[in-house]
């Protein structure tokens, strides 16, 4: 399908096809996707309804799912230890399925370690729990710089990590996806799980910002 992560980064800048890509007509990869899809349907491997259903699956995945996982981990220590031992099994406990058959490692931020996730090769992302990645996550500047100068990238998001805190970048390349478990902000000790979930943003679960009590997050 057009959303195949491995086609990202290849679908632009094709000089030989520039005339097409600047037109209203479909581009090279879009035509290829249509051709493959129609062939698979003609051969009876998939149906139009299978594709429609899969789009529904993708649309049902949003950062709110990841936020629910984080809030549960903050409020249930036994769940948190299961989640850190096996991220996928922890999410599956909450009913989040892994339709793409990836595994999940949950990376816990602490006083001494700040985690950041990236996919340098394409746009691997924990879609089952966060939905579609933001555009900047798929673009080359973030993908290259997150591994070369992560502290500068973080600073551009307004996140300054002290020198005595390790920055740990996880590059997802194969069958594993990563989700950052941010630190729970101080002053939320008596908050409900649901209110806590409302604080947790997509960017915090990628690791580019911490979870903070700002106006947007106040209950």
């Amino acid at each position: 399908m057009a959303s195949d992560p491995h086609s990202q980064g290849h679908s632009h800048d094709h000089d030989a096809h520039a005339a097409i890509s600047h037109d209203e007509a479909p581009g090279y990869y879009e035509i290829m996707e249509t051709a493959v899809r129609e062939l698979l349907m003609a051969k009876g491997f998939i149906t139009a309804n299978d594709i429609r259903h899969q789009i529904e699956v993708l649309d049902s995945r949003t950062p709110a799912l990841g936020a629910a996982v984080v809030a549960r981990a903050w409020t249930d220590p036994a769940f948190k230890s299961r989640l850190l031992a096996d991220g996928r099994a922890g999410c599956e406990e909450l009913g989040i399925t892994f339709y793409d058959d990836t595994q999940l490692i949950v990376l816990e931020n602490s006083e001494s370690v700040h985690n950041l996730i990236v996919c340098t090769l394409c746009s691997c992302y924990p879609r089952p729990v966060l939905g579609l990645p933001p555009d900047w996550y798929k673009l080359k500047p973030y993908r290259a710089r997150a591994v070369i100068e992560p502290r500068k990238v973080l600073a551009e998001f307004g996140t300054i990590i002290p020198d005595d805190v390790e920055v740990r970048v996880s590059d997802s390349t194969a069958v594993i996806r990563y989700l950052v478990l941010p630190r729970r902000p101080a002053g939320t000790e008596d908050w409900t799980e649901q209110d806590l979930a409302g604080l947790v943003t997509r960017d915090a679960m990628i690791g580019v910002i911490p979870v903070t009590l700002n106006d947007r997050g106040m209950k």
Partner: protein, 109 residues
């Protein structure tokens, strides 16, 4: 209980992980043609096995060519010091990169 049969079980090649947590390993310095899942910036760099990813998975480089059977190998989460990856790295010397790499790309040091 005397169960000599159990202690005599011999696993097949690649059925068990070849590396253990804490092992020092080096990413192979190879440049295959076609689909690969090990970024070039890691080739030839030494790191430490941080975690064995269970269970073994199909080698997705092989899978890219439709070969799904018989190519299961272990993936490892390997930690590299940023200062080993980049000349003149400007962050803290404690900063590191972790990445999952399939066994066929790793060499024992």
């Amino acid at each position: 209980m005397n169960t000599p049969a159990l202690s005599a079980v011999r696993p097949a090649l690649f059925e068990r992980p070849s590396f253990a947590v804490g092992d020092r390993v080096r990413v192979s310095q190879r440049a295959p043609i076609g689909h690969y899942r090990v970024p070039i910036y890691l080739r030839g760099i030494a790191g430490v096995v941080a975690r064995i990813i269970e269970p073994a998975f199909v080698d997705n480089e092989e899978e890219g060519y439709g070969r799904n059977a018989g190519s299961k190998r272990y993936y490892y989460r390997v930690a590299f010091a940023m200062t080993d990856l980049w000349n003149g790295y400007t962050g803290s010397p404690n900063d590191e990169l972790q990445i999952e790499i399939i066994e066929s790309w790793l060499e024992q040091i």
